[in-house]
Amino acid sequence: MASDQTYLSVKSMSKRFGGLQALNDCTFSIDSGKIICLVGPNGAGKTTIFNAITGFLKLDQGSVFFRGNGLTGIGPQKIVRAGIARTFQNLRLFGDLTALENVASAVPNQFGEEPLGALFRPIHTARSQRKTRETARGILEEVGLADQAEAFVRNLSYGEQKLLCIARVLATGAELLLLDEPTSGLSGDALEKVMVLLRRLRDEGRSQLVVEHNTRVVQQIADEVLFLHQGHLMAQGTPEAIMADPKLAEIYFGGAL
């Protein structure tokens, strides 16, 4: 990648909800090939930043550039196609579909995803469907859920559901993943599994912006940390530098938490 072009750059991002300034003039940029952790107390605006980057939220002010291209004002679909995809803090899996179908639903370029193709070229549709399922199965394998492919989401454990969220976002083919608290509610083996997976994905070239509360996880996975507080971007640096800053530690541990 050309080094004179920033990978993702966010400029003076602001968003107000009624009387609440959720994001206040946030500016930052990140490089590709890294795991960047976005940390900050509850209500800091982390999810709001995700919503803004992925086109789910209209900004009051500011702009987003990905590989030099402006993303401001274009919808979520186009942003996924541009190469940025996100997960949700509250999972938002399709409960009535199987794990495999959840993943398949995010695989791009499927034939027969509109009625004319589905009705008038059923054989072609079926062939494309088989290919999609193979792709989806491969992704489930990658995250360690191959044996649950035919299980319905509601029958999966919470840890498996978290993995499925990652599988679904991988299926979009996006190169930059925005993961909203992929480890929350996990402990022990399940937590370890997600950490290993995220690191492996990074090594395979998937850049990640990860909202993470657990400082131990941050230390283990982050190449860089963004610290957000009350809508302000307070600091950007290595995990060590951020953790060592007494002012940030006071905000993070001394406050309402």
Binding site: T54, F56, G75, P76, Q77, V80, R81, A85, R86, T87, F88, R92, L93, F94, G95, D96, L97, E101, A104, S105, A106, P108, Q110, F111, G112, E113, E114, P115, G117, A118, L119, P122, T125, A126, S128, Q129, T132, R168, V169, A171, T172
Partner: protein, 287 residues
Amino acid sequence: MDYLFSYLILASIFVILGLSTNLLVGVVGIFSVSQAAIFGVGAYTVGYALSNDIMGFVPALALAAVVCLVLNVLITLPSLRVSGDYFVVTSFGIQLLATAAFTNWDAITGGASGMAGIPTADLFGLPIDTSLKTLILTACVACLACFAFRLVMRSPFGRLLMALREDELAVAAAGRQVLRAKVEAAALAGVFAGVAGGLYAVYLSFIDPSTFDLDASVLLLTMVVLGGARTLAGSIVGPFVVVALPQLLSLIDLPTAIAASARQGIYGVLLVAFMLFRPQGLMGRKI
């Protein structure tokens, strides 16, 4: 024998309608209570075209399908802006509006007294003038509709629609266009309802606004609830059971004065009972 034919013909017409309603309400979760209005537009379009000798049955049926496609997309569009429960109110308004139009646009619809003497259908010169021929026609179209429904439900498009009902935001995050998918589903449901309407018009040769009113829309919902949402079997069983009910009731010796309200009452009881005790219907899944 005529009795049986009439039952089977009506049931197969309602299967097509049931599929339409199931697609919109059961699969996508757009809770429309105005599907009878679309059914009516299909019926009046074919009725008008044939009565005035404007075109043959097949082109008229195609015209009804196109008109209903466009109309259903238009009336479903509010569901993109107002969500879930609020859409029911919008849709309720549309149904009332449609009934008002059927009743008052005398020049086209014949007003409250209806449209009588609609000519029988013909297939490229072959007249469909007996009950048996009509049954064969409606059954074939119903089978075609069932086949189409099955193809759709097994395709990526079907999966997209199922996902849409569960979580629109997650569908958008997967890189899909929510608006486009909803419009396509509404279009398909409109085609089904329009075709059903056209068949109904030529079969009965008489139509009036009362067939396409709010009660009829509720009846369609009853079929979906009773048969079960999102399955082909449910969309077939529901109409067959519900269309049989009035016949079964007529076996019980009720005075005609209370027969109609008794029927409405029984539909009501069925709706409540199924929602409470068997929300997945006879053959399907929970609405």
